[in-house]
Amino acid sequence: MSNYVELFNLTKTYRTPKGPAVIVKDFNLNIQKGEFITLIGHSGCGKSTVLSMLAGLNDITEGGIVLAGRELAGAGPDRGVVFQSPSLLPWLTAYENVMLGVDQVFYSANSDERREIVEYYLTVVGLADSMHKRPAELSQGMRQRVGIARAFALKPKMLLLDEPFGMLDSLTRYELQQVLIELWRKNKITALMVTHDVDEALFLSDRIVCMTDGPAAEVGDIVSVNFPRPRERKAVMEHPDYYPLREHLIEFLEVHAHRRQPKN
């Protein structure tokens, strides 16, 4: 099977007064269509840099990215992004926030169809009764639900999730992971998520890519996660491979944390 997404020798360098700082170096990864990939690593290791290059929000220094047979240049609605903070427009309601993008990519559809799309996604993320509220009236968890609906509603070729649940408490995080995985399963969208939560990575992914610590971060290890789908949290946590994999990932993170101890 050919690769749907290819990242080849992806490198990111920033110019600094002390000379160039290499954040990501020769990052290679191939993703199949419909796969759910997680990038795991410490804060500041460069995982978000990889994701933002894929999103087209950050220039690529060297190497390149091919998505569905086309080399990427710049941002576009074919990649839906869910950010750590929901980044909603505060003066628009949840419905209007989602409609903003839907109006663009479905400009040829009629207005009923566009309304149906927005209502569908806001309902399945659990906001049926709150879709006409503004972000300030919504809890942090609900705002992030809007963020997820907004990304899926555009029917992107690829979904990019940058620590989407990092700001939520662990229990709300569990609920939203369930919402995300169900939507993902129905839509079969190729997804790349960045996180440092080991349990989140195990529950959602087909493959987990461990990144070494920056500077010059690269792929350290790739772990296949073969829990049967559709996944349910209880069954996943009872799976005999769950805790061995969890330990393996925690150990990877610990080893790379110790390589770069804080100075104090």
């Binding site: 040829s108 559809a109 309902t123 659990g126 809890s139 029917k155 408490d169 709300t172």
Partner: protein, 300 residues
């Protein structure tokens, strides 16, 4: 007789009670964790024990005496650190020590402060102000300040929730080490089941609010000192973890009324915006099939 005792405590701020019929008994030297969702009433519970709030019904007793006001016998660590920004690390802690032990000599106070600064590994930063410290370091100051007052009970109100995963793990290890050193009575409030299991002797779920109440307490029988990696092999850890997560998620689900709604999702393809539309060229979107209808379970 339990050391800290809550009897049928109810608290409301107008409207439905936030907490209802809360019963809790903590023995001296015990480390108890209460796990609950955001907004469940965890902080209300801590504030009642701290004496910052008064229950509408029921009693809160520490060491047999009803709590009526805040006092130095209860040390609190808040999520937002609550340090005085114009004072250094040393001065922030000295302020607390000074207030609790006004009769001590200057050297005695200073030695006491330095001991606790060393305990949380902040000696190199003792003369820095909170603004110059990272979140994790600020929280260490807050922990040192609470411990330096030598309280009878330590109340930790989501102390690590604002920190990233790695810093959180480091501070959990430190709290665990410090607790093993002087075995204070500790009540930890957290939203992270793993944190509760890793640190506590007993873990108690707080059901989702309103009318939140404490569920059945679960004993954590994992030998100390605990090893973050090693406990992945412990069958008791796995079972406990599953039980806590399940209980919490189920308590929230009970609050949801499930309604089935019929939704329509048009099965159309998005337009390619990188190619500008040519006038007169395809006016309707690519439709793969006719509209599909789907029934979705919606939680209210």
């Amino acid at each position: 007789m339990p050391y800290l005792e809550l009897n049928n405590v109810t608290k409301h701020f107008g409207g439905a009670p936030v907490l209802k019929d809360v019963n809790l008994a903590v023995e001296q030297g015990e480390f108890v964790a209460i796990v609950g969702f955001s907004g469940a009433g965890k902080s209300t519970l801590i504030n009642l024990i701290a004496g910052l709030l008064h229950p509408d019904a029921g009693t809160v007793k520490l060491n047999g005496k009803v709590i009526t006001e805040p006092g130095p016998d209860r040390g609190i660590v808040f999520q937002n650190y609550s340090l005085l920004p114009w004072l250094t690390v040393f001065e922030n802690i000295l302020l607390a020590v000074d207030t609790v032990n006004p009769g001590w000599s200057k050297t005695q106070k200073e030695e006491h402060v330095l001991k606790y600064i060393a305990m949380v590994n902040l000696t190199p930063a003792r003369d820095k102000k909170p603004g110059e410290l990272s979140g994790g370091m600020r929280q260490r100051v807050s922990v040192a300040r609470a411990l330096a007052m030598n309280p009878q009970i330590l109340l930790l109100d989501e102390p690590l929730s604002a920190l990233d995963a790695l810093t959180r793990a480091t501070l959990q290890d430190e709290i665990s080490r410090i607790w093993l050193e002087d075995k204070k009575t500790v009540l930890l409030i957290t939203n992270d089941p793993d944190e509760g299991i890793y640190l506590a002797d007993r873990i108690i779920p707080l059901t989702a609010g309103p009318e939140a109440t404490l569920g059945e307490s679960l004993k954590v029988e994992i030998p100390r000192p605990r090893d973050r990696k090693g406990i992945n092999h412990d069958p008791h850890f796995k079972a406990l973890r599953r039980e806590v997560v399940e209980t919490m998620l189920a308590s929230k689900k009970d609050r949801h009324a499930s309604v089935t709604r019929k939704l329509v999702l048009p099965d159309i393809e998005p337009e390619d915006l990188s190619a500008p539309p040519r006038p007169g060229w395809r006016k309707s979107p690519i439709r793969r099939r006719e509209i599909k209808e789907e029934s979705v379970e919606v939680s209210k």
